[in-house]
Amino acid sequence: MSDDSDIPLEGDPTGGVAASEALETAAIPQADDVGVDASTERKQVRKERRQLLLRSPGFLFGASILIIWVLCAAVPSWFTKWGDNEVVRVDGSVIPRVGPRADAWFGTDKIGNDVFARIIYGARPVLIVAVTAAVLAVAAGTLLGLTVGYFRGWVDEIVGRIIEALLSIPVILLAIMVLTTLGRSQTVIILTIAVLFIPVVTRTVRSAVLAEAQLDYVTSAKLRGENSLFVMTREILPNVTGVAVVELTVRIGYAIFTVATLSFLGLNAGDSSAADWGRDLGKQYDTIQAGQWWAAIFPALAIALLVIGVNLVADSLDRVNKS
């Protein structure tokens, strides 16, 4: 499709979230001459939304997963007595490559680290990188989308072409190119992912802005002599933040996906011995074939669980947003 439809163009399985759902005709009570207080009114709407969320099993499940991972990232020591770089010793001797057992719930890896501890400690890097990158991408993409969507014209045309060009290459390939070019530090990785996500965010926000800019309140603002900055940031922006928030959750999911892939390919930064799901999976997956599945399968499951959690939350938010 060549128009600005909301069809996601990149390899973004979570993009489907944004696909149109039939709108539920939820009658929002309107106050006319009936005496309803405005603020209770709004609270009511919010409360209904919250209840809708809390009643959705998908949201509850996703949110619980997220809470657990966030806790792991914040205070890993609550969950495990082993450090991420500490080999499990039983009676003083190391026990590398043993399967799940009482003193190592998820078994131990190639050098005898506790896989469970690695999983717990691995939540932090992926969350930090993915969330930061997604936030940056959404912030920048929203600004860019706002600008080009509002001004249109040749800038839009050019930016649109560049976006389309960038979107025609899988993010992971571009990331590989950039990271091998610029070297891999945490900052470079975060910025790379952020920059590579900007086109999608821009496109999403831009089409939302295009729809908004056609509305008469924008015309009205221009007619009373508001400058462009005001119209963009005060009039339009608040109306596209909903879109941006959903986009943010979706992007976080996809950023985790990307971070994990890059780590898996060994393209991540920092101490290579630090716990990191993608890298641990990359380091250990060759042992699967010798039947030592635990050191690879648990990080794989951790990645899967986290992305599922984020996507369930994103999906529920999107649904509630639309209803």
């Binding site: 770089n85 500490e86 080999v87 190391v94 590398p96 490559r97 190639k110 050098i111 005898g112 680290n113 060994g266 920092g270 101490d271 290579s272 011995s273 380091k283 997956y285 060759d286 042992t287 074939q289 010798a290 039947g291 030592q292």
Partner: protein, 532 residues
């Protein structure tokens, strides 16, 4: 995986027991008549070759390519049944002049190139010139271009730059690049461009993408008829997948595997493990020239670190114990000139480490361990990190792609101003791999001697150089031992690099295959193999 440092030629006496000089070399019939052809073919899991060098024998650097090229090309000096050098290849016998500065090799008569032309000493001369020009690690400083007198087609007479008692090893299978190629084969030509060796196998096809080579029997091979009709060396980017392929018998043999991930094979009753003698090790180098580990001042820090290593843990974790503990020098204890008493064995002693640090006036050390992503090295680095942590030494593991590692961290290139620093700006601390050599000359000469091409420590010690030279020119074990003993001591004390273990090279095949010989440099000699 790249195996750059292991690419150099070996030196001298195989296994250390053989006197360096002449060897009884039966005329042209050292090869036993092959068993009656059973026909068929085998598929071998081979390390995917480094695409950078292609199948160029002179420039190859990895085990995968060694194995492919050595199926078609042959060495002057081959592999004996005891794992040492023997006249099983193109030279039937060899002898030095009195002071060991000239070596005369008699060539096997009747050997033909696969394209039909005769093999002569001109081919040997041309190959040696190419090796000299390319700066072959084994032959560098030993011969120059034009070193071979080829006036007699069946005699190759080498004139060395200086006397060398171990010269035949340098033109043997233990100097992997010294494969003899035709005279008109220029440097950069690859086997798949011009498949013309003297060996048992003729290259049929080579798939660059997968690095898979297929060979057919050479019907005119001087060694007779191979039992097998064809062989295929299938490229695997990764040892893990090769092991899987072996475990599920998608292949008949595997060039190399590691203990980690290879337990399945080690416990497989229908799998024959081949474990050739090996001085494989990891050199944990410190930059002697710059950085926090440089020079005499940091000796105590380096020693403190060496006292941290839990060598037992490394060997048992990384190799299931298949290997030997090393004592911070690269001399294997089975060598005849090894001196067991000169320095005490280092083992994990955190108190010692701490007191050394205190003595050095250092309260904390923060450093990177640079390493390539090769075999167990990343795990080794992690163990080192953990071992050192207790002594207050914070190491950060930095695993890079191999090309980045070798190019940027290990040996970024010679210093423009100071030719004695061939690896200027090497990282201050890192792990590099050294493959098997029958003698430690490369480990000493290239990696530690002043100006050595792989001297990532940028180590420069006149006494060391002096002792090395004494060792090289020594004509008997006593002389060699006198020099080596001091070298052991110097390296143990100075610690331009730490050495924690020697590990075994593991190769193997399905038990239905027999007659396979392997070297610790990855050669799988299949000319005598058959499959039942």
């Amino acid at each position: 995986s790249d195996d750059e440092p292991s690419g150099g030629g070996g030196d001298t006496s195989a296994g250390g027991t053989t006197p360096p000089a002449t060897e009884p070399a039966g005329g042209g019939d050292t090869t036993p008549p092959p068993p009656p052809s059973s026909g068929g073919g085998v598929v071998w899991a081979n390390q995917q070759g480094d695409a950078n060098s292609g199948l160029d024998p002179v420039n190859m650097l990895d085990l995968g390519t060694y194995n492919v090229c050595s199926q078609s090309f042959e060495y002057l000096v081959g592999l004996g049944p005891d794992g040492n050098i023997a006249a099983t290849a193109l030279a039937t016998d060899w002898s030095p002049n009195a002071d060991g500065s000239e070596w005369t090799f008699n060539l096997r008569p009747g050997v033909k190139w696969q394209d039909g032309s005769d093999f002569t000493s001109a081919d040997v001369a041309a190959t040696m010139d190419r090796l000299a020009a390319a700066g072959n690690a084994g032959l560098g400083g030993v011969i120059e271009e034009g070193a071979v007198d080829a006036s007699d087609p069946l005699v190759a007479k080498f004139t060395l730059i200086e006397a060398n008692g171990n010269f035949p090893v340098l033109v043997s299978i233990f100097n992997a690049q010294s494969l003899i190629a035709p005279a008109d084969y220029s440097s950069g030509t690859t086997l798949n461009e011009r498949p013309a060796g003297t060996g048992a196998w003729i290259l049929d096809s080579f798939d660059v993408a997968t690095s898979t080579a297929k060979f057919n029997r050479n019907p005119n091979w001087w060694g007779g008829t191979t039992p097998l009709d064809t062989i295929e060396l299938r490229g695997f980017a990764d040892i893990g997948t090769a092991v899987t392929a072996m475990a599920s018998r998608e292949v008949d043999g595997v060039q190399q595997f590691s203990v980690i991930g290879g337990e399945g094979l080690l416990n497989d009753g229908n799998f024959t493990v081949l474990e050739p003698p090996a001085s494989n090790h990891r050199q944990l180098w410190f930059n002697w020239q710059q950085g926090q580990f440089a020079g005499d001042e940091a000796r105590l820090v380096r020693q403190a670190m060496a006292w941290c290593w839990d060598r037992e843990q490394m060997l048992s974790t990384l190799f299931n114990g298949r290997g030997k503990i090393a004592n911070d020098h690269p001399i294997l204890d089975s060598l005849p000139f090894y001196d067991p008493d000169i320095v005490p064995q280092r083992s994990r002693d955190i108190d010692m480490a701490k007191s050394l640090l205190a003595e050095a006036g250092v309260d904390s050390v923060n450093a990177n361990i640079e390493s390539g992503d090769l075999q167990e090295i990343p795990q080794l680095a992690e163990i080192m990190k953990q071992n050192a942590a207790e002594a207050g030494i914070n190491l950060t593991v930095n695993v890079q792609s191999n090309s980045t590692f070798y190019g940027d961290s290990w040996c970024p290139g010679p210093s423009e101003s100071d030719p004695t620093l061939p690896c200027d700006n090497a990282s201050e601390f890192g792990i590099v791999d050294y493959g098997h050599r029958p003698i430690p000359d490369i480990f000493l000469g290239s990696a530690l001697a002043t100006g050595g091409v792989w001297n990532s420590s940028n180590y420069a010690n006149d006494e060391f150089d002096q002792k090395l030279s004494e060792y090289r020119t020594a004509v008997d074990v006593a002389g060699q031992k006198a020099a080596i003993s001091r070298i052991q001591e110097i390296v143990w004390t100075d610690l331009p690099a730490s050495y924690a273990y020697f590990y075994s090279f593991l190769s193997g095949h399905d038990s239905s295959v027999s007659g396979v010989e392997v070297t610790s440099l990855g050669h799988c000699i299949l000319s005598g193999a058959s499959k039942s």
